[in-house]
Subunit: 167 residues, 2 copies
């Protein structure tokens, strides 16, 4: 699978659903109602999410379109194997984001808002390659999270503090 690091180039000819279909065929796996349902929900928006969030968005038990928790976990793993999603850990739980057809990026994590913010920087990718080369290390991928506070986080915080001061 083509997961060598590159500079934000994105080549897409197939939709995620089509690409997953290929993946299934190749492995003798089947396209089911549940997998279709999850493809729909997961690739409708470009936001990262955790399993809990995803399950809350899906129809409840005994509702049409419901997918059981184990199947959600199983299918997300398949999406990762198929190169559709990337997975990382934040505060001990898995977070997923689009990989296929979505430009490579990194994240700020605003500790005041508990929020992930994406950014893209080619210089960074180049520097990482350079550092790796210096150490004879062959890069496959990387994960960078910059912790701190965004402008919004700092402003909300100030507002909250003022409010507290008034009490």
């Amino acid at each position: 699978m083509d997961d060598q690091e590159s500079l934000g180039k994105v080549e897409v000819s197939l939709t995620p659903a089509q690409r997953f279909e290929e993946f299934l065929q190749l492995r003798g796996m089947r396209m089911t109602e549940q997998r279709r349902q999850l493809l729909d929900h997961v690739f409708r928006r470009h936001e990262h999410f955790d399993v809990e969030e995803l399950i809350l968005q899906l129809p409840r038990r005994n509702q049409p379109g419901h997918v059981s928790r184990p199947t959600v976990y199983r299918t997300l793993n398949e999406f990762v194997d198929a190169g559709l999603l990337r997975r990382f850990e934040l505060d001990g739980r898995a977070v997923y984001e689009h990989d296929y057809g979505y430009p490579a990026h990194d994240h700020f994590y605003c500790e005041k808002e508990g929020k992930l913010i994406e950014f893209q920087n080619d210089e960074l990718v180049e520097l990482i390659q350079k550092i790796a080369a210096q150490h004879d290390f062959q890069v496959h991928s990387h994960r960078l999270i910059i912790y701190g506070s965004s402008k919004e986080g700092r402003e909300n915080n100030r507002r909250k503090k003022r409010r507290q001061d008034m009490v």
Copy 2:
């Protein structure tokens, strides 16, 4: 606490044990045999470790110097709060490394060997600051892991492959 990102400068006047002692005092907490024992084991060597590894190094149950699992977890959290350790997640479990008195660094993760390798690069820290500034983001810390394969990993792999080919 002084956890603003800086360029590998390290100012240390106290040993980790002394600094932890201060931390305890400030909070009306006590220096116990178990905390002493863990300080000893954790700061004896500069290697990252996970809880399982640490516990294996400690005396077994009913041996002098033994520390129970919950206390290990509790104490590691305290070390993190005290700024002595930094914690991150790898494959769903917590990994700890020295923070206090130890130069800031990042990691390669060799996927062939399952091994973390440290590196230090000031250019990277500067670039992160620059990117953050561009986004009005105030940096508190960061975590970068570069996944791939080290020279050793690639060589061991080749050796293994050859061996397999012979079968």
